[in-house]
Amino acid sequence: MNTAVVQAVLGGAFTHQRGRLALSVLAIALGVALGYAVALINAAAVGEFAGGMRTLSGVADLEVRGPRGGFDEALYATLARDPDVAVASPVVEVDARIAGRDDALVVYGVDAFRAAAVTPALVGAADTALDLLRPGAVFLSPAAAAWLGAGPGGTLTVQSGVRDVVLAIAGYAGGDAGRRFAVMDIAAAQDAFARGGSLSRVDLRLRPGSDAALARERIARTLPPGVVVAAPRDNAATTERMSRAYRVNLNVLALVALFTGGLLVFSTQALSVVRRRAQFALLRTLGLARRRLVALLVAEGALVGAAGSVVGLAAGYGLAYAVLRVFGADLGAGFFRGAAPQIAFDAWSALVFAALGVAVAMTGSFAPAREAARAAPAAALKAGDEQQAFARLRSPLPGLVLLAAGAAATRLPPVGGLPLAGYGAIALMLIGTLLLLPRIAALVLARVPAPRAFAPALALDQLRGAPGQASVSLATIVASVSLMVSMAIMVASFRQSLDDWLAALLPADVYVRAGPAGDSAYFDQRDQQALAAVPGVARVAFLRAQALVLDPALPRVTLLARDLPGDDPEQRLPLVGETLPRRAGDPPPVWVSEAMVDLHGMHPGARIELPLAGRTWPFVVAGIWRDYARQQGALVVERATYVALTGDRSATDAAVWLAPGVTPAAFRAALDARFPEAARAALSTPGEIRALSLAVFDRTFAVTYGLLAAAIVIGLVGLSSSFGALVLARRREFGVLRHLGMTRRQVGAMLATEGAAISAIGLATGLTLGFVMSLVLIHVVNRQSFHWSMALSVPWGSLAALAAALLVLAMATTVASARQAMGGGVIRAVRDDW
């Protein structure tokens, strides 16, 4: 294309409005940066996790695993002798609490002779080979060593029960895998962590020529209840799936940012095109083809997009780096524990997000470009034509159809475990509403009584006369406000529900946890008696947490065996919906979390079988409870039942009711005096747990809050641009009004009224739409992503304050942009002989 033509079309765009252009670039950059950062963090985390899984599962063809607490080691002998099995490698896996830290490290107890042939990464690199078998020797992965700040020659102290076990660090294991773990001899692990007689998993390498699928099927039939056989990659997929909804949600947030960035490009381009309208008309008259003009203007958008993408990619990389450094791969959500991911420039996702950024900017500039090109050149050359630019009122049908489709989409089930239909519903509702905006504005304005003062009355006339004109301004407000409000309501509902849930879950005065992290800490029966005998204790209820495999394709579910009040076991559970009355002859009751309903199809009244201690036992689902702690699902049974079935009397947690007048501090002192081993146990009050939980919650949603702020800023800038475009287009009109005797102040008042009306309509529409969208987020997206429900809780106060602040900001924005657009005498704009 001829450079002169390019210059003629684009000239001015980049000189006259550097500020707005920079903002457009920044808006695109924000979306691209967030998207790319999320992609990088995910790639790092998932890649590291999957890579770690690969390292840890080595060349195993199959993996036999069971409950977290393990299964009978005799199974190992059976598996090792299986005709299809070349090597069977037994593993004891313990999430060991590190003494003095509220953190845990996965310790693998392996038989080095076996692991060497299946999972070489789990064999320590020993100076002295016998160290691999020595009871007190442990090998750290380099990531674990770095994390602990300890290395060969040092020691690692972990907690078992309520006592400490000191291990000598004999070397490294796992090569350069980024995962944190430790390896020791399997016998030593069984001894140290009281796992005698049980294994967590057996990795199998099949004989050459064995059919893995057939072998798996055959082996599966021989396994005791609760123990499953799966291919290792299935486990990686299971873990990946668990975190996918969370990652998709982050990606959607990034797309929202991109979308609002696109709106900003749209409004900026609209303004810029209106400014250059006559210039384009002239070029068209001089023979520039319509298609070329559109192409040039879209190319202009692409340039903005490209600049934004470049800035965004760089910023995204930096952001990802910072986030990984400060929060870890899951932004503190806890999905990728044990992984120490490294960030790596990912060309493919960089390309995708750069392309997205450019595409969004191009789309944003397409509508104004077409508008500019469509205008008849002759008419545009004559003065007084600008008002036509946005003045069409379209049929409401497409908007209504989209809204209906959005409503219908909320009924659809998740796709591959992802709430895609829910997101689709939100997008459809948003776009449908944006399409309907002129209609909505007209409807509202028709009901507003005519003000007495001239300027506001004229403003109203203008808005009523050309309701389509303000639709861009309205769109920017509605989009940003609705997205913000929906998020705010969802987050507030979640937070409130979490708070209520914690209150229901924590009725006691003090909670004592054998170890604040990991599964290596527990109270044995003696410890339990000692705890109950501490002076000042009125009553103690114990809890035993256990993890079971119910479905080889799904992660382990948590089984909580709790001491529940005998007369009314359900008073301590945050139940959702009806519960089943207990009938004589029924098997023992189990209360399941919502995720169990969604993932395992356990409905109240259902008879289910649970694998406990190598046998299956019948239970009846007595009710559903809400659980925000275990996304993969959890079951509650009475501890008495659990002990009767398994003989396992150990407990991981204790809820302590104190005698009147005893403070938690006094209890701690008494505990230390009477039961010194409990010094390793974590003691917390419900208030502390609540504060900590909410702090974690807020940190997890920090990204959301940041995006909300960005959406608001982008919305306001978009409003400023689009309103500026409107004012600019109507400069001659203001000039005429000044001629006719309107004072400067009256013109200002008119514009302020228009701005206020647009802002108010936009806010009201945005609030309404946001409310509806929040319902979709809460009842569809959240439920499908995380399998938990929450009660709607609208933060009326803060929403009202926010709305008021936004109204003021929006009005100020419109007045400021109007003043800017009117700068230089509007009077001269009326001059016709140009």
């Binding site: 037994p90 038989d111 002295t128 080979a129 078998l133 069984q190």
Partner: protein, 355 residues
Amino acid sequence: MDRRIFLTMPWLLAAGRVRADAAYARVERGAALVFPRDHGSHPDFRTEWWYVTGWARDADGADFGVQVTFFRNRPGIAEASASRFAPKTLLFAHAAVADPRAGRLRHDQRAARAGFGIAEAAEATTDVRVDDWSLRLAGDTYVARLAARDFAFDLAFGAREPPLLQGEGGVSRKGPREAEASYYYSRPQLALSGTVTLDGRARRVTGVAWLDHEWSSEYVPPEAQGWDWTGLNFDDGSALMAFRMRARDGGDLWAGGALRDAAGNVRALGRNDVRFAPLRQWRSPRTGFVYPVAFRVDAGPVSVELTPLMDDQELDARGSVGIVYWEGAVRALAAGRPVGRGYLELTGYGGPIRL
């Protein structure tokens, strides 16, 4: 004889530096060996092995060298553990086949901690297994079954004579110090028959083999560089075991052996009765180490030349266990005429055996 492959097992090397929490049994002079009990394992001792070497000939008249070893080690750790996985007893197995047409050794190994019926060494008689590799004594016949990476054995070794007790009634000195000794007996002139599978083809084979069973708690003298050992089945029915410990300075540190004639009369050979004189050197193209693969051995009245079935019978186990040695089938020649077949083991030629 504290020889052999078990030294390739680093567990042992390590064990030397370990302060064992176990009290090992000691080799006592004058304690008589009792069979079949002493065919079985002796878990109170630190180390023990059953070592079979032999010549096999297939229907085509082709000769192979075959070797099967089971080794037991008590590292002396985790003795107090209650776990069934406790590594109180470790079992290793090693097998090799020398095929002159392939020109190199094929070998493979297994290792496991004893337990769960997966790896066990019975005390009643010879019955030792690691996974699906096993060596068992039934009646007077040893049966070895194993499937390695690129070969398999299903071999029977029939004993026609009682065990040949080495040293002083089965107590064999290894070095200048009294404690450097082991319980040691051999089963020469075993009738070998069965199947050797090579390249997927099972061959019926027959031949003659030698079994050593040795256990002790002490180790080779610290000043040893390595050793040379041979066990020969003569065609006339007699058998010879001879070894020497080489000192680091190149001289002989210790030597010994035993000669049994066809009638079953045994003559013990002292440190001055045995001499090894290298005749020919072979340089390994892989490691560059030089081995004296042909010897003149003078042992009491016997004087033979040993020539290898093939030169390259070097075992390079540095990648897995960190040691290189030569262990191979040899022919015994007297006055240029073949008079017997056996095995020769040469260690310490790639640097001193570190203990």
